[in-house]
């Protein structure tokens, strides 16, 4: 008999059968996808930014391979404009889980001229080249991403397993049909696959699961006092990478972040939600989508995400 540390013995049997909650069904589906990809690919990796979706995805991976360690490295495309709280969380998390972290730095590309800083200062679109280079250099053949279909109209059309060519391009008009829970990941040399295990989760599902599972997040997801200023209808943090113009007065407000990305283009929302339960309640009645509320880069056009994805973005 193998000795396994056990918290409790639970009955998930016939008494509860057929009445699994929607979170149970989503968790089971995500774990199935994670195991399929790890079993069928030689060199998988997981995109991990410290954002809530990637934290939940990594938690699901920990559950999928328990009592083993997560059997792949994580990859972070660092724009160089990240929140320090999030980088600190990222480093503590990979150390705790005993997994390897690969960092692809946008800053390095700007420093040596391979990428040019954009006029608007936004670095999100600049992540694609370092991402593709890191995939090629590490010979990753499958890359897990935390994209959710409810985030964006282009993402709503994404498969769970998405084949990419050597330029990382997504061809939405030529996707493989995806039937039942049979995922076809066959690919040729030079191609790789992006796998999206939490495709079917909504923002509210993510938060309810964080609450249910006691998942730790970077502190900026919860309400805190911060110096902010108004720009394009969003609350931007005053920081090294996002300075207010003389016409943009700075105020001290209680805010939290609904998404965590590049500091220069990620806005905060005014909030007093200091606990996960407060956030679940807040998200449930929100009248704005998370990207619409907090991402400058997705407000550029109706097809902003589609265009980035075609070029090899997450």
């Amino acid at each position: 008999m193998t000795a396994i540390p056990t918290a409790a013995t639970h009955d998930h049997g016939p008494a509860e059968a057929g009445v699994h909650s929607s979170l149970d069904a989503l968790e089971a589906e995500s774990i199935h996808i994670l195991r399929e990809v790890v079993a069928e690919f030689d060199r998988p990796a997981m995109l991990f930014s410290g954002g809530k979706d990637s934290v939940v995805m990594l938690h699901l991976a920990a559950k999928a391979f328990w009592p083993g360690r997560i059997p792949f490295p994580v990859l972070h495309v660092d724009t160089g404009h990240n929140f320090p709280e999030v980088l600190d969380f990222r480093d503590r998390t990979v150390e705790r889980l005993g997994i390897r972290l690969v960092v692809a730095g946008v800053q390095d590309y700007i420093d040596d001229g391979r990428l040019l800083e954009r006029a608007d200062g936004t670095r999100n679109p600049l992540q694609t080249l370092p991402l593709l280079d890191a995939i090629a250099a590490n010979k990753f053949d499958a890359v897990f991403g935390g994209g959710r279909r409810d985030e964006d109209k282009a993402r709503a059309k994404e498969r769970i397993l998405s084949l990419r060519d050597e330029f990382g391009q997504w061809d939405p008009r030529n996707q493989r049909p995806e039937l039942w829970n049979l995922y076809n990941g066959r690919h040729t040399a030079g191609q790789h696959v992006r796998a999206f295990p939490i495709s079917n989760w909504t923002e509210l599902d993510i938060w309810r699961y964080i609450e249910r599972e006691n998942i730790e997040l970077p502190p900026i997801y919860y309400a805190h006092e911060r110096d902010v200023f108004r720009r394009d209808g969003m609350w931007m943090a005053v920081g090294e990478f996002s300075a207010p113009a003389p016409t943009e007065p700075v105020e001290r407000r209680s805010v939290r972040y609904r998404t965590v990305g590049d500091m220069s283009c990620t806005g905060a929302v005014l909030s007093d939600a200091g606990t996960v339960a407060d956030v679940v309640a807040e998200v449930a009645v929100s009248t704005l989508t998370e990207r619409g509320a907090t991402r400058a880069d997705d407000r550029i056009s109706e097809a902003a995400m589609e265009d980035r994805k075609k070029d090899g973005y997450f």
Partner: protein, 463 residues
């Protein structure tokens, strides 16, 4: 109350708290011919179910106005809510399956919005494969057309448990009951001949909102429920088989042997001999102490443990183990077995006390052909079933389904979007169930060994 014909943007009112625990998950797909107004219906459903947020409505409002939709009345082109790709918005058509998510106080819904063009039927097959129900649109003015029959054939083939036929544009036939009754009779006739058991028919106007979320006063002759209420009340597929004695099936996806490194907080020495067989329960229930058979080898053994990782006591703490006494579909679990037998990815663990799937090298199957090039007899393909992939040859093409007469006819090839029946010879045996009995272990993919592309959807028939 019928929704007003002029839609003004509305988000959930402040203080109106949607449910936080929406209960079970219900998956449905929509299908219809081009111009049946399917995108509009989906947009209407999401809008009237208050699943559209203010910034999304604003974007739709801007684009509707730019294109002169509704002649400056401020009306929204609800189809814009679902057409996600640039080409779709430009051409006003839907190209690919789009997934949408919304919840009512009864359930969480996953909606697979499938395109109507004939050349995109493969996407309807995709959407229907995981669906608890299909909502099929029929234009009240045109009635049942070839695409309707094709989609009903797909629904029948894939054993989608419920069909809801939405007779759309009922406003354009002046809410005429006779038209509705005629379409109902025709559609029910086709469904019955295809062996579809559970059919609901609802008269709707996606544009005007009649009978989508609220019962319409303009169809007093219709005594049924509006579309969304029908969807809220349909029973879900109970893969766990409570009350139906569904046999236990678990395809082994991955063997967990933590010598390479253990999860945080665990003692590597104590786990040196650990072997766990990880997979998602495809059907039925398993309990510690159950006798099981590992297929295709046919070795009998006993379940000694059902492991899952539990919940951290506090955020950031290591995950404790949970030993379950029983588990049911669709949970993903890790089984421990009594005997040290050779088990690998691709094997199937099945209950020993129920009817066992027979490992076979000869499959008779229905096939929905999704490849650009036609299926030819003697073609070499890969068959992906559960977690196993084996080589196969098409031995015989037994026929193609004639969608007019709904009978199988002799055919030399299967073309894109055809449904037919084939006989396959496998390089090694697979433990299969008839699809009609167990969807998960009766389904397989046909894959092109050269390109890796998915060529078809296969469904095992009773031999």
């Amino acid at each position: 109350m019928t929704s007003p014909s002029t839609v003004t943007p509305q988000a959930p009112a402040a203080g109106q708290v949607p449910t936080i625990d929406p209960g079970s998950l219900f998956r449905f797909a929509t299908a219809g011919s081009v111009d049946d107004g399917k995108s509009t219906l989906v947009g209407r459903l999401l809008h009237d179910a208050k699943a559209i947020l203010a910034d999304q409505l604003e974007a739709v409002g801007r684009t509707s106005a730019e294109r002169g939709f509704g002649g400056g009345t401020g009306r929204l082109d609800l189809a814009l809510l679902t057409d996600g790709l640039r080409a779709e918005r430009e051409q006003g058509i839907t190209i690919d399956v789009a997934y949408r998510y919304f919840a009512t106080d009864r359930r969480s819904f996953i909606l697979a919005d499938c395109p109507g063009h004939v050349q995109y039927t493969k996407n309807t097959v995709t959407g229907a494969s995981t669906a608890d129900a299909v909502v099929l649109l029929v234009d009240a003015r045109h009635g049942v057309v070839e695409q309707t029959r094709r989609h009903l054939a797909v629904v029948s083939l894939l054993r989608v448990p419920h069909v809801v036929i939405a007779v759309n544009k009922i406003d354009l036939v002046d809410y005429d009951q006779e038209v509705f009754d005629r379409v109902t009779a025709d559609a029910t006739d086709v469904a019955t001949r295809l062996g579809i058991e559970d059919v609901h028919v609802v008269p709707v106007s996606a544009l005007e909102g009649d009978n989508v979320v609220e019962t319409s006063e303009r169809t007093p002759w219709y005594t049924g429920r509006p579309l969304l209420r029908v969807l809220e009340e349909l029973p879900t597929v109970d893969e766990s088989g409570r009350g139906t004695a569904r046999p236990f099936r678990l395809p082994v996806q991955y063997v967990i042997r933590p010598q390479g490194g253990t999860a945080p907080g665990l003692d590597a020495d104590a786990l040196r001999d650990y072997r766990g067989y990880a997979g998602q329960i495809a059907s039925g229930t398993v309990a510690v102490g159950d006798e099981v058979v590992v297929l295709p080898a046919g070795r009998r053994t006993t379940v000694t443990g059902i492991d899952v990782a539990g919940t951290a006591p506090v955020p950031g703490a290591p995950l404790p183990g949970e030993q379950l006494t029983e588990a049911a579909a669709p949970l993903s679990v890790t089984l421990r077995l009594a005997d040290d037998i050779d088990i690998a990815r691709g094997d199937l663990v099945a209950s020993a006390d129920a009817e066992l799937p027979e490992p076979t090298r000869d499959l008779v199957a229905s096939v929905a052909w999704l490849g650009e090039r036609p299926l030819q007899p003697r073609a070499r393909v890969l068959v992906k079933h559960g977690a196993a992939t084996v080589q196969a040859m098409v031995q015989d093409l037994e026929g193609r389904l004639d969608l007019e007469e709904l009978v199988l006819r002799d055919a030399g090839t299967l073309e894109l979007n055809d449904i037919g029946r084939v006989r396959l010879r496998l390089a090694s045996p697979l433990p299969v169930d008839p699809y009609d009995r167990l969807r998960r272990t009766g389904a397989f993919l046909l894959v092109d060994p050269a390109t890796g592309n998915t060529l078809g959807a296969g469904l095992v028939r009773d031999a």
